[in-house]
Symmetry: C2
């Protein structure tokens, strides 16, 4: 319980990207994805590398290259994506010493950490119970009742 952390948006960014890729024909370049996210291609490649290692996407170089989804969207959960992008630390709060000598501190840390673990377990369960396909369908249900290729806007 010692690491420092910032608000990590890799999960939501990646989901955003994947849904666009799902409704896009052909590979998408890091350049185009970066524009979508308001960032640059290097940041995109860094995050996408995790997805590639997990086998969820593939990348091709050269003309007409870019990123392509390589998995069944029904088989990949939000939790899988969370883990593929680094499975980052979830909480910004915690205890400072892992194994305190003080008995009071032990009890306090255990109480706080048990509570955090409970919340984390719920989060993990929820993320694990939603597939990318379901997320995509929930978008269609709300925004694209008839379905079409990707014409949805990105600022």
């Amino acid at each position: 319980m010692d690491r420092r952390v910032r608000t990590d948006s890799r999960l939501s960014r990646t989901l955003h990207v994947l849904l666009h890729m799902a409704r896009h024909d052909g590979p998408m370049t890091s350049e185009a994805i970066g524009r979508m996210l308001g960032t640059n291609p290097v940041v995109v490649r860094r995050t996408m590398a995790g997805l590639r290692n997990a086998g969820y996407v593939t990348s091709e170089k050269g003309h007409g290259g870019g990123w392509t989804i390589a998995a069944d969207l029904n088989a990949v959960s939000l939790l899988d994506i969370h883990r593929a992008v680094g499975g980052p630390r979830i909480f910004a709060i915690g205890s400072d010493r892992a194994n305190p000598a003080c008995a009071v501190e032990k009890v306090v840390n255990a109480a706080v950490e048990d509570t955090l673990r409970e919340a984390e377990a719920l989060l993990i369960t929820r993320l694990g119970s939603v597939s990318l396909a379901e997320l995509a369908r929930s978008f269609d249900a709300r925004c694209r009742p008839e379905g079409a290729s990707d014409t949805s806007t990105c600022a």
Copy 2:
């Protein structure tokens, strides 16, 4: 959803301190508390200031001064302490843009944030359901079956 954050140990540290104070006669100095936490008095004062503003403790200057509990431990929950020390951001993950123009991004952010909110609600509920007195009793039950003044060690 934009702020950056580190692992924040103010809650667990403060609970640790309060339990010691509860089984300690007379005020405790920031100096002594700092030794307990492995930090220095200024850090202690900074955190304790929140508790003082909330009315949970009082502070006295000069000889024999220091910090004293001013609340009924049965009436103060872990959540109250969490809030008194700044109610810091709980999660290290989130979305980067609060109000995206892109409809896909909106749906994704909503899904992620709803899940986080659910986990946060559970955490808040749990923290709110435990009083300082109960936490102290759980320590006694485990470590001090007969109860006495504060002889518990702090490394």
